[in-house]
Structures are given as C-alpha cells and as structure tokens.
Amino acid sequence: MQFGLSEEQVLLQDNVNRFLSDNVPLERVRKYAEDGSDADIWQGLTELGIPALLIPEEHGGLGMTPMDAAIVAESIGYHVAPSPFLGSAIMAPVALSRSDNDYSELLGQIIEGKTRIGIAYGESVGNRNDAGVSLDNGKINGKSIFAFDSEANHYLVADKTKNLYLINADEEGLIRKELTTVDKTRKTVELVYQGAKAELVSSNSTVYDATLDIGRVMLAADTLGAAQNMIDQSVAYAMQREQFNRVIASFQAVKHMCAQMAADLEPCRSLIWFASHALAELPDESRVTACHTKAHLSEVGKSVSKTATEVHGGMGFTDLLGLHYWFKRIGANRQWLGAPELVREEAAKLEGLVA
C-alpha cells in the first residue's frame, strides 16, 4: 500500500516548480495581465513535456496518469502561472484521443506546442444568458461565453446534449472577443458562431464526462497549489511584520488563522491524490469523487484566500503586494466547470439521491 507521490512524481513536481519559479515570477504574471500572451511560458512547459502528459504513447505522447497531471496543475496554481494547460494539456487531449476520428496529427501538434486547443463548456455545464450552440450540416451557430484560452488555435465546444465539436479559431464565421474577468492570470473569450464549419469529435457522453471530470479535478488541484502559496506567503509575512514590538506571527489570533488554513487545506492534498488516481483506476467512484473534490476545494479555497488576505492586513488589499492574483485565481476556479452548489447537486444525482 502506498498512498502518496512516487519518487518520479516528486521529481516531476520539482522540475515544473523550478521552471515556474525561474520563469514566472509575479512580474511575469503582471505582464500577462497587460499584454495577454503566455506563449513563452507554454513553450517552456512544452519543452518539459507537459502537453504530452496525457496523450497515449501510440500518438507520440507520454501516456502518463491523471495523478501526474494533477501534480503539474498544483504547481501551475501555486505560481498562478498563465497557461493553456486546462484545455491544451488536459481536456482536449482526453477528448481527441478517445474520439472515433483519427486525431494523430493534431495531437502531434499539441505535443510540439504548435497547437493550442481552448474549451467552451459553459453551455453544457450550466447555461447562462443567451449562450448556446446548434449544429446543422456541419455548420455551427450560436454563442459560447467565458470560453477559455484567448490564444487558442482551435476550440473544443460542448453543446447541452454532451456532443463535442472542434472548430478552428480562424474559421470564417467565428468571431472571437476577449471577455475581461476579475482573474487576470488567464483570459477568457466570447465565441460567436455564424455558420462556421465545425467537426463532430464525439457524440458519446462518456467522452464528454471524462473531459469534464478531469477538468474539474485539475481546477481543484490548481486551487490547492494557489491556496498553499497563500498560506506560505501569510506565514512568511507574519514572521517579519512587527506590531506592538513583536512579530505578528507570535499573536495567537494570527497563529490560529494560519493553523486553521493549514488544517483545512492539508486533507485536500490527499483528496486530490485520490480523485486523480480514481479517474484512471476506480471508474465506479471517479465521477462522484471528481464532483466532491471540485466543490470541497472551492470552499476551502474561498476561506483560505480570504483568511490569507486578512493575515496580510492592509497590504493584502493592495495591488502592490499582488496577493490578489491568487485570491482571484481561486475565485475563478470556483466558478469554472460548475460552481460548488451545482457540482454538489450533480454528485447527489450521480449517487442516486435525486431523481
């Protein structure tokens, strides 16, 4: 019995952490917030093999496990790194490699970092506003909002019956517009389809479910990393900030805030490990577990990001310190691919508790 990271997984995490520490300091995140390009970061992660992680070996990928991917997601979250990881390294590879179509060529381009595939799942997870798509004779009409990755070359679009379509970002009849959100570490777009050519990737709902489940676990892992960083920053700040002639880390009021954050977050690490392991190995449990993991990390992330900001006092509220990038990242992860109340209701349905 071994419940934890293997030596190879520790090594993988060290490698990704080293690259991100060296190349994505807070200034780099701020620059992304201004100019909106993360191409160099993705290039670096590509050289580390990240887009190839989940792609099966027969397509030239590394054929690694969802747990390996979760470890990477955690590191990316820790550094609030801008990157198309969720779509290009996770959800699209899972969809394309399970499709009945042959996507070897496209998967090869993903591995080389030449193609980025965004995701437009809002309508299938929980339709808002007047968004929604319909396909007729290979032409797509309608609109997706808050689709992810503003620099993608293709988008994987889900409709409300769990069909998955692939559409080229340069396709005639597709209008892409950036949508500003509070999270400046990843950019989202509105996609308006006016009879643009689209290809059916899969009409098998299990393919869609597989992409959604793993996407949710990766967002939860991103929150785990981001929240861990906020705790680390809080403890470090409290150790050097002095008031009343003492470091504030010596006040129980502050210590107990930090202890509560750690006590809430530490079990989440085991939850992520189990949930990501279950995706590959425990099909009976994996769907429910993915929902609970997404919801639970959303709740813990919310309280950690609030508490950590409070530990920093007035500085926590400033742009200067930049702590807010983590706060907003965690806030965005909470809403994407299903807010906690919706995801918990899905868990209840999967368990057969609701008709």
């Binding site: 071994q2 419940f3 085991s270 639970h296």
Partner: protein
C-alpha cells in the same frame, strides 16, 4: 499509488472473516468502557480475542498478550473486518489503551509482570489522573504533590475529569515530586490503588447527563515508593510517550463515515410536511458538503497510514490536524442529524419519538466535549502553527493581578 494491502494479506483477511463468522454470537453488544463492571460475557470475549490475536495483538506473550510482531496492515485489517461485522473489538479503557503501552515502553520488568496481564484481561481497571482544576491546557503546571516519607509517597491534591474513577481499581497519576525543578522536570508518574485510604471520588455529571467523569481528592494518600514509572521527575516524558497517539484516535474516519451514512439513510426515510428530507435541496446540499469534508479526512487518514508503511513519506502536518478536524467534523455530522429531525431531534432519554436510541443528541454533545478534551482545539492550533508552520510561541507574561 497503490491502494491495496497486497494479495499476501488476503489469507489473513479470510482468517479474520472466518473467526468472526464462527464466533460473532459470543460477542457482547457494544464496546464496554467501565472495565470493572464488565460482564462475564465481555471478559470471556476479551479472552477469546487475545488468544486469537485480535486484540492486544503485539503485547508479548510473557505479559499475557498474543505476542505478534507489530504489523500495521494486519492491525488495520482486523479493525476493518470487526467494524464491518459491527462486532466489539474487546475491552476499551485507559488501562489498555494508555497505561499498557506506557509500561511496555517505560515500566520495570516487575511492573509489566504485575500489571499488564490483569489489565488486558479486564481483571484490573484503571483511571487516569492527569488534569487538575488549575492545570488543564497547561497540564505541566499541575500541583498535586507527592512527598517521600520513608518508603512511601504521601499524595495530596485534586484531579478532575478522571473518567471511571468511581469504578476503577487503580489510578495512574501525575504528581509533583520536585517542587524546585522547572515545571516539566518536577513531575512523576505514580500508580496506586483506588481503595487506598484518603481518596475521595465525587461524580461530575456532564452535559449529556452522564456521570462518567469525576473529581478525585487525595488527602495523605500513602503509596509504596516503588510504584513509580520511570525515574523521579521523568513523569512528563512518561505521559507523553503515548499522548500524541491518543489524539489521532479521537475521531476516526471510519466512524465518521458510518455516522454520515446513517444520516443519509435517515434523510431517505424521514419526512417533513410529506417530503423526504433527501428531496429538500437545502438539506441535501448540506449533506453533500459534509460528504466532501468526510472524504478529505478519510484520504488524509490513508495518507497517514501510508506514511507509517513507507519510509520517506512525510505526513507530519496531516497527523497534526486530525484531532482538530476530526472532532469538528464529527460534531457537525451529529448536528446535521438533529437538524433534519427538527423538534424530534430534541427527543432525549425516554421520549417515545427518539431516533437512533438518542445517540444523535448525546454524540453531538459528546463530540463538543472532545473538541475541548484531549488538548483543546485551540491548543491544537497552537501546535499546528508552532510545530507545523514554524511560528513562534506567544511570549510569557507575569501573572496578571
């Protein structure tokens, strides 16, 4: 990741299952806490379990145990199978859970010979004399004094929260023997009979209505000099050899899961205004929220187990947080059951509308007790922040006037 215990343990699990199948009808219902009042059935069951190695498994044969090599996985498999068969795993109580491992670690050969066998067979029951009215979270400031007079210690002072003191045969007790030494180095660990002249036990009824706790008073209680575990002044270390272990066992995930499942089952059966509780979205969401927390704690426990089996896997913080989080979660689970029942959730004692034999209310309060006991959850946060996160201790202050 490898979640299985390995096929080499399949045979062992089968043995346990077979034992349970053949013998479960001999088991008493429920775990017996007050050892000296243990009915004959419990004592017979305890004997059978020891002989088969299903309790006191690693206690050496010469002290009456089964004498198996320590094996975490075997211990775990036994616990899992007994839990799933809902069969008692033998006697509990602080003599077996705390004193016996302490004697094995720190006792003299004579002490082990004298005490362990009757203790594990339920013939000698114990209470624990640690806390005092003035020494709770700051246990090391205890003032119950023992002064050597010839060949005897003379004990004077008062203990509180002494569970089962009214029925115990013996007490293991922390006393101050070196008043001049720094507080942690002036304590000794004594063992003495509860029928020694000068001991008075007064019951302390807790909020659940049960009088399991006591106040215990000592007036010139004379204790033979050699009934000390460890050296003079070493009592703090002796007590601490097993205190950390106690904390991790206060709210185990398997019990929390079984209680949560019981809440879920009740929500499928109980109705309010004709609607099943499980069909009410607000209650359902609350249940699902608790389920997420429960899962996180369950896997946290798997991680701790794994860290015991695999060298180099660190789970320090994961262990430190279990008492704080486990007791809070359990309290919430019990409280949820009360809330879904509404007014019926208030039913207690002989009320004909009682659900779950009244366990929801009593466990709800009992776990509030455990949030306070075993090192309050505020003390747990001090431990987490200081030893887990490396934050400094709060400076000491002069006594305020």
């Amino acid at each position: 990741m490898d979640l299985s215990f390995g096929s080499e343990y399949d045979g062992f699990r089968e043995e346990v299952k077979t034992f349970l199948k053949n013998n479960h009808d001999k088991a008493p219902s429920g775990r017996v806490i007050g050892e000296s009042q243990a009915a004959q059935q419990s004592l017979d069951w305890q004997k059978l379990l020891i002989e088969n190695g299903y309790t006191c498994r690693t206690i050496p044969k010469e002290y009456g145990g089964y004498g198996a090599e320590p094996n975490i996985i075997e211990t775990r498999i036994i616990a899992e199978e007994f839990a799933s068969a809902k069969v008692s795993q033998g006697l509990g109580g602080q003599g077996i859970s705390m004193l016996t491992p302490t004697l094995l670690e720190m006792g003299t050969e004579e002490q082990r010979q004298q005490f362990i066998r009757p203790t594990i067979y339920g013939e000698m029951s114990w209470c624990q004399g640690y806390s005092e009215p003035g020494a709770g979270s700051d246990l090391a400031s205890l003032t119950t004094a023992a002064v050597l007079d010839g060949d005897e210690w003379v004990v004077n002072g008062q203990k509180i929260w002494t569970s089962s003191a009214h029925i115990a045969d013996w007490i293991f007790c922390l006393v101050r023997t070196e008043p001049e030494a720094p507080k942690h180095q002036g304590i000794s660990f004594l063992l003495f009979r509860m029928d020694t002249p000068g001991i008075e036990v007064r019951p302390l009824v807790d909020m659940t209505g049960v009088a399991n706790f006591n106040e215990t008073f000592f007036t010139d209680v004379r204790v033979p000099k050699d009934q000390i575990v460890g050296a003079r002044g070493q009592g703090w270390q002796v007590a601490n050899t097993i205190l950390g272990h106690e904390r991790e066992t206060l709210a185990t995930s398997s019990m929390t899961l079984s209680r949560l499942n019981a809440v879920k089952d009740m929500m499928k059966q109980e109705t309010v205004s004709g609607e099943r509780l499980i069909d009410n979205p607000a209650y359902r969401d609350r249940l699902m929220k608790l389920q997420g927390r429960e899962m996180a704690m369950r896997f946290n426990e798997m991680r701790i187990l794994s860290s015991r089996l695999n060298e180099g896997q660190d789970a320090t913080l994961a262990r430190m947080i279990t008492k704080l989080q486990g007791t809070e979660l359990r309290h919430e689970v019990e409280g949820m059951a009360i809330d879904i029942l509404g007014e019926i959730g208030l039913a207690y004692e002989d009320n004909p509308y009682l659900r779950g034999a009244g366990s929801w209310q009593s466990q709800y309060m009992y776990y509030l007790g455990l949030i306070i006991g075993g090192g309050t959850n505020q003390i747990q946060k001090n431990i987490i922040s200081e030893r887990g996160l490396g934050m400094p201790k709060e400076p000491k202050f002069e006594k305020s006037k």
